[in-house]
């Protein structure tokens, strides 16, 4: 399971991709993933918002994650 990182999320983690494949227990939902991220990287809680995209669509907390999903961390967007 890989997480893609963009914008300030990439700066917080220091990488553009996090590989979770070698973790014992992978997050099974978006809510679990958010908890895991908040614990590992406290700076995420300082952001105005934090969304998760699953297979390039915004995903609510109850969306179930599969190991083959493309998951992205979406910090506050600022296009335009």
């Amino acid at each position: 399971m890989e997480l893609l990182l963009f914008g300030i999320a990439k700066d917080i983690v220091g990488e553009s991709v996090i590989d979770l494949s070698d973790k014992d227990c992978l997050p099974t939902s978006v809510a679990e993933l958010k908890k895991l991220l908040a614990a590992a990287y406290p700076d995420f809680s300082k952001l105005s918002s934090l969304a998760i995209a699953v297979n390039s669509e915004y995903a609510d907390d109850d969306v179930v994650l599969d190991k083959d999903d493309e998951i992205a961390i979406i910090p506050p967007v600022s296009g335009g």
Binding site: L4, F6, G7, I8, D11, K46, L47, S48, A53, S56, E57, Y58, A72, I74, P75, P76, V77, S78, G79, G80
Partner: protein
């Protein structure tokens, strides 16, 4: 029948959009161009840097364009955003619509840019002389 152009590009050619939106059944074209402003809260901006999650950005831009054609009677819609480093006065985003009468394209144009800013995964970093800031990242 409507035509939609949605693109992420390195450079925006502002002269292209008229051709993109021109349509025999349209009596009006409305275009918004977003550009790099020199000052943010009295601080001088050296440049902006844009990055995107392109696959998702294109999906979201397509949704916005489709929604606009459902809300208004439009003949053509364009949403084009640039990525990479942009200097003061350079265009970074261009959106527009064409329609039989002007009300529809004026309203749609505002919807296109306002919604893009809310939902499309594109991130802007302001480069100042002695710091860099990801825009809107913090409350």
């Amino acid at each position: 029948m409507e035509h939609i152009v949605v693109e992420i590009v390195d450079e925006i050619d502002t002269s292209q959009v008229f051709t993109d939106l021109s349509h025999a059944h349209s009596g009006g074209i409305c275009i918004f161009v977003g550009t790099v402003r020199e000052f943010t809260q009295n601080e001088e901006v050296v440049s902006l840097e844009f990055e995107t999650y392109e696959k998702m950005a294109l999906k979201e831009m397509n949704k916005i364009a489709s929604d606009a054609t459902a809300k208004w009677n439009l003949n053509k819609v364009v949403i084009r955003h640039a990525v990479g480093a942009k200097q003061v006065e350079e265009p970074v985003v261009i959106v527009g619509a064409s329609s039989a009468h002007r009300d529809a394209c004026f309203e749609a144009c505002r919807y296109l840019i306002d919604t893009l800013k809310e939902t499309v995964p594109i991130w802007k970093k302001e480069i100042f002389k002695n710091k860099t800031v990801w825009v809107s990242a913090h409350p």
